[in-house]
Amino acid sequence: MSDAWRLPPLAAVLVAVVLIVCAEAGGASMVRFKVELTRWARGVMLAHPEVHGLVGVRDVDERILDEALVKFDAGLRLFHLHAEGMGLVILATTAVAATLARGRRVRGVMIALLTAGGAGYPLGYLLWSWLIPHHGIERGKSIAEWFVWMPFGGAMIVALWWLAGLVVLRLARR
């Protein structure tokens, strides 16, 4: 087997690059539209007082709204950070998989898991942010966990352990 690095499939590279682009665009939008985003989130929360447990007393409600807005902002920030990081992780890990995984099927599954898991996981933070004004912090988190973080994060973790095992195997066979 050659020692040369192999390029991952172009589809995986495209996903990684688009993810990084989304991260940068998301970060820029957070700054540019901070006021509009906050106003939108606050408006949606005030339209659903029962979801957030608002009681109609400013001294009580301000704290609830403030916490939800902080978490809303945190979700956007975490999307920005994770999307940037996972884009690079996809590029690095799929390159390792493309180089070291021999079987076509194994390589394909591994790259698919790394790409889908890496690209999907950050979107959970975006989803969570969007869900907070509509469904509240905890319920929004629960939905994002079950539909995005667990399946995509799980896929990424499985694929990374698999890849680690593969590297150890190659090392042992040298």
């Binding site: 009681v55 009580v60 609830i64 978490k71 194994v106 996981y121 959970g124 973080w149 994060g153």
Partner: protein, 205 residues
């Protein structure tokens, strides 16, 4: 072989991200009233009465004192301003204590009303209790030291009543009669504190 092991591995590892992913932490911030209170208090403690007076006159405390004048002891706002003008730190502290006690009392009364409001869903009443208690404590906590210095029995009574209310709020059915009673007791204690402190002021201008 590897592909057969994969689903099993996924089953074992998949729940981990849900437990491990981080979503940030929230540190409660001061609202405009508590911020202004701290500004005035620290300026007074530093002996900077001119700074304290400016902060009071332009700040949320004075605006709120005016807005709530109907439920506050008469002359609270003008008296606070006069005390700042005169450089009378204990009097400023006493008047601010009365103000925050009144805010906390109003919250306790409103909480009591909402807890027995049949128009609200049981879930809404259940979540309202702890949230009102948090807001009550946020205001009372600012003045507890001043209360204890003047009337330690009231301070202890308030703490006991609050502990009791928190216990009921954390119970399975927080909107029950126990929480309403505890909130009523909090309101009574604070009303007593406001009355005695205001009476004292009238006797010793």
């Amino acid at each position: 072989m590897t592909l057969r092991v994969l689903p099993l591995l996924a089953f074992v590892v998949a729940p981990a991200p849900a437990l491990a992913h981080h979503v940030g932490t929230y540190t409660p911030q001061d609202n405009e009233l508590t911020t202004n209170f701290k500004q005035v208090k620290f300026s007074v403690q530093a002996g900077k009465f001119d700074v304290a007076r400016r902060l009071f006159e332009a700040g949320a405390l004075r605006a709120q004192m005016r807005a709530k004048a109907a439920t506050l002891p008469p002359g609270l706002e003008s008296g606070t301003r006069a005390a700042l003008q005169a450089g009378d730190a204990p009097e400023v502290e006493r008047r601010l204590m009365i103000f925050f006690a009144a805010l906390a009392r109003d919250l306790a009364l409103e909480a009591g009303r909402q807890l027995v409001d049949a128009r609200l869903a049981p879930e809404a009443r259940a979540t309202a209790g702890p949230r009102f208690l948090e807001a009550i404590w946020r205001y009372y906590n600012l003045i507890d030291f001043a209360v204890a210095m003047r009337d330690d029995k009231t301070s202890v009574a308030m703490r006991l009543a609050f502990d009791e209310a928190e216990g009921y709020a954390k119970a399975a059915a927080p909107a029950g009669a126990g929480l309403s009673d505890a909130l009523r007791r909090i309101a009574q204690i604070l009303t007593h504190l406001i009355d005695t402190s205001s009476t004292f002021a009238r006797r010793n201008p």
